[in-house]
Amino acid sequence: MQLSANDYLIFDEESGVYVENPEQVVRDDVEKHHWLNVWRAVVKDWRLYLMLVPMILVFLLWRYMPMYELLGCFKVTDPVKPVADQYYAGFSYFKQLLVGGTQLSMEFWRAFRNTFLLSFYGLCFGFPMPIIIALFFNEIRSNVLRSVYQVITYLPKFMSTVVMTSLVMMLVKQGSLTSGMGILSQFLEWLGLVSHDVANGGLLNNPSFFRSIYQISGIWEGAGYDSIVFFAAIIAIAPTSYEAAQIDGAGKLAQMRYVVLPCILSTIVIMLITRIGSLLNVGYEKVLLLYNPNTYVTADVVSTFAQRYGMGANPVPGLASAAEMMNNVIGMLLVIGANTISRKASNVSLY
């Protein structure tokens, strides 16, 4: 705050000279008492701060409290006592999970590998799809026809995970004595992609099909809808850019490479950062709904592993928390890393 001389000196009419202003001296003292200052600002603006209170309470109670519960991974858990009263177990849960050829650690490493692979395949196959579809949408000149295509391809996104997985389960269900196999299995058998026995046994009971089903259903569900943001970036490109490229003799591929790609690059980067950030954050709900003990080999991810050990029949919450702790810390490092790299490299960052 800029102070003028008048704040410090006031004219004393009795003696006829300027004297020190006692109020301003007090004000300066207060200025030094930082918290008092804060308090005054809050009191003056109390309505604004009151508006913030419910949001902070909700986040503290149901977002930050679980993080405190997560510390249970360092303690021996006794469900009856609160986290603070349980005794210190150090890294014993982590050791159990990470080292030793025990069943448990093998299962954990399997889950960790599956988590990474499901996300990684999603990045390789799932991520480019919306971009390709957006490019295709751009080729359709008729607005009506394009709208029809868009409305149809956005549709699957509006189903809940439960309904989507139910549908998938019905379409690839196993055959039995009284009823045939699912229509999709039948189609795949007709195409010669799977043998009759495999199709009849139910594709979701077969570990070698889980990843494909997971990815393909993901693309089916989201590719059309996710193309919205890329399509918006593509139609924002000025038509003159294409014309200029055409005059320079650029074919379709060259136009893609030198006109379209640079224009939508920042959108792609942002989407990629988000994607990498959630690399270890596989949608556990979908896995939980689709997997069964037959497919644990390829389907079990860290969240579902934790769910079985932490919420199942004989829960060991500390062990489950330790598994999730590792998963989430690596996940967070990935977000921050991806963000930093992209900010350094291209000046695009999400946070």
């Binding site: 949001m55 089916w220 918006a232 379709k252």
Partner: protein
């Protein structure tokens, strides 16, 4: 030169139309098949005799659903959760976002970090489960025995949605707010008369995001709501699916329609309301996606 250019464009055009058509068919076909299978006769469904159009039409599978008290119950529960859940989350988000959009707010950066951190790091499902159990005990002790309120109040907040709202509020020109304050408007009136009307479309989008996530909510509702009569639709669908795909439980099935038809009918029932409002909400969705990409 000119000719070569046309050929590469033509090929790409043909490719686009073909692949898009295949994709669109793949998106649409399961829905049509579901409807057909829900109203086809038993033999046709069990032995995959229908490909696209229904055969031996019956509506008993639907009637069975509509006569099921649990089904109607679960529908009401879902409407309850969606309605109150959206209002609760939206209200808190609007107030919070409004405060965060003000430059004069002290510790603004700290509060923002407080929000964004939850997007980077989440505790995971088991700690969350323990936390919700503790909340449930507190709620029961206070006298809120209805677990639906636990789901409404404790779940479904999203930092992303608050940030969307905050960005939109920050875009409101400060001159308008100053004019309102000169005219004697209080903080609430500024929010209500200036900010909310000026960010209508983003508020609609965020409300939609909350609404959809509430309508689709499954896992926590199943974990936390112990009373069967309070289960929402998604939990009901899943429990029915688990019951109906168990071959042993279905061995004695002797209705005139296939047991699968009941599941298909359920799926249809849960999609139809969304399809009905879909044309009206679609543009808000597109807006939200585009706004979410930029910060």
């Amino acid at each position: 030169m000119k000719r070569k250019l046309e050929i590469s464009e033509l090929i790409f055009k043909i490719l686009s139309y073909t692949l898009l058509t295949i994709f669109a068919v793949a998106c649409l076909y399961p829905f049509i098949y579901t409807i057909s299978a829900a109203i086809s006769g038993r033999h046709a469904v069990d032995y995959n005799e229908l490909i696209l159009l229904p055969k031996d039409i019956q509506f008993e599978a639907f009637l069975r659903m509509f006569n099921d008290n649990m089904f109607c119950n679960s529908y009401t529960n879902t409407l309850f959760l969606t309605f109150y859940g959206t209002i609760w989350a939206l209200g808190i988000s609007i107030f919070g976002a409004y405060a965060l959009s003000k430059k004069r707010l002290l510790f603004r950066k700290g509060f923002n970090f407080f929000l964004v951190f939850t997007m980077w790091f989440s505790a995971g499902i088991v700690p969350q489960y323990l936390n919700y159990l503790a909340t449930k005990r507190v709620f029961h002790a206070v006298g809120i025995m209805d677990d639906k309120w636990l789901v409404v109040i404790a779940m479904g907040m999203a930092a992303m949605n608050i940030i969307l709202l905050r960005n939109s509020f920050e875009g409101v020109p400060s001159e308008i707010e100053e004019a309102a304050i000169v005219d004697g408007a209080t903080e609430m009136q500024v929010l209500w008369r200036v900010y909310i009307p000026m960010s209508k479309s983003i508020i609609a989008t965020v409300a939609l995001f909350f609404g959809i996530s509430r309508w689709n909510g499954y896992f926590w509702a199943r974990q936390m709501i112990s009373n069967q009569n309070e289960h929402p639709l998604q939990v009901f669908i899943r429990l029915k699916l688990e019951e109906f795909t168990d071959p042993e439980a279905m061995a004695g099935w002797n209705e005139a329609y296939a047991s699968d038809s009941v599941i298909y009918a359920l799926i249809v029932c849960s999609i139809v309301p969304i399809l009905v409002i879909y044309p009206f909400i679609q543009k808000y969705f597109a807006k939200g996606v585009n706004a979410g990409g930029v910060k």
